[in-house]
Symmetry: C2
DNA sequence: TCCATATTTCGAGTATTCTCGAATTATGGA
DNA sequence: TCCATAATTCGAGAATACTCGAAATATGGA
């Protein structure tokens, strides 16, 4: 991931409504949610939400797909993954010895679902 | 990590100068760097830098410590760790099956130093 | 075709952020 | 004490971001 992409993604997530939207979409899974459902769930006006969805979309964190009259948004976890990797590279590049605890914590946060293969 | 802390950290990193500062401090390691050295390295005026260092400091991503006439700033990797964990929790909570590739990529980014125990 | 629904785009108002020069505070040394 | 250095705080200007109501676009169904 390029620095500018990381910057866009971080700036996108550094705003409450957009972080809420992104987390909601992550929970919603692969199918995502139509804009209207997001608007209802978070109590944000449709036009304001549309602006935020545009920012998330430009940053690559979400993707839009029209489905009939509505437009489904879904979180792009690969971009999320790339962002985390970018942040960890920053960390581990200069301090490999400090990376282990971060990686193990990341793995631990995975285990919350109880899945052994995580 | 609380949502508001994550929000502050993300917003802090979502600005070019501050991301540059943070990365520079990560590379600088435990001792950190005095404000003047950061100012010189990144070609940012001292007062402007001070504002950004204040934002990073309030977000918990860096810490300041006076050393004689200068003030040393160092990156707080624990906050970084907590942020990554927070982001991964968002991810893994609803989709445990999607966490494994993210965790393994994180581990892979660790391995760049060649350290086997990472 | 005509209408209702879903979403976006437009334009404007307010708020926040970024940057800067000038002034201020804090420290160490002569 | 007096001065030089290091960094911060203050105040203001310009740019950017956020939110909203109103209008426009796109789709599906009667």
């Amino acid at each position: 991931m390029e620095k500018q992409n990381a910057l866009n993604a971080l700036a996108a997530l550094g705003q409450e409504t957009r972080l809420d939207v992104f987390r909601l979409l992550v929970k919603a899974g692969q199918e995502g949610l139509p804009a209207g459902a997001i608007s209802d769930a978070l109590d944000v006006r449709p036009n304001t939400l549309s602006t935020h969805l545009g920012a998330l979309s430009r940053s690559g964190l979400v993707h839009a797909e029209r489905d009939g009259r509505s437009i489904h948004y879904r979180a792009d976890l690969e971009t999320m993954q790339a962002l985390v990797t970018y942040l960890l590279q920053d960390c581990c590049g200069g301090n490999p010895d400090l990376c282990a605890p971060i990686a193990s914590l990341a793995a631990a946060s995975c285990g919350q679902g109880g899945s052994a293969d995580c």
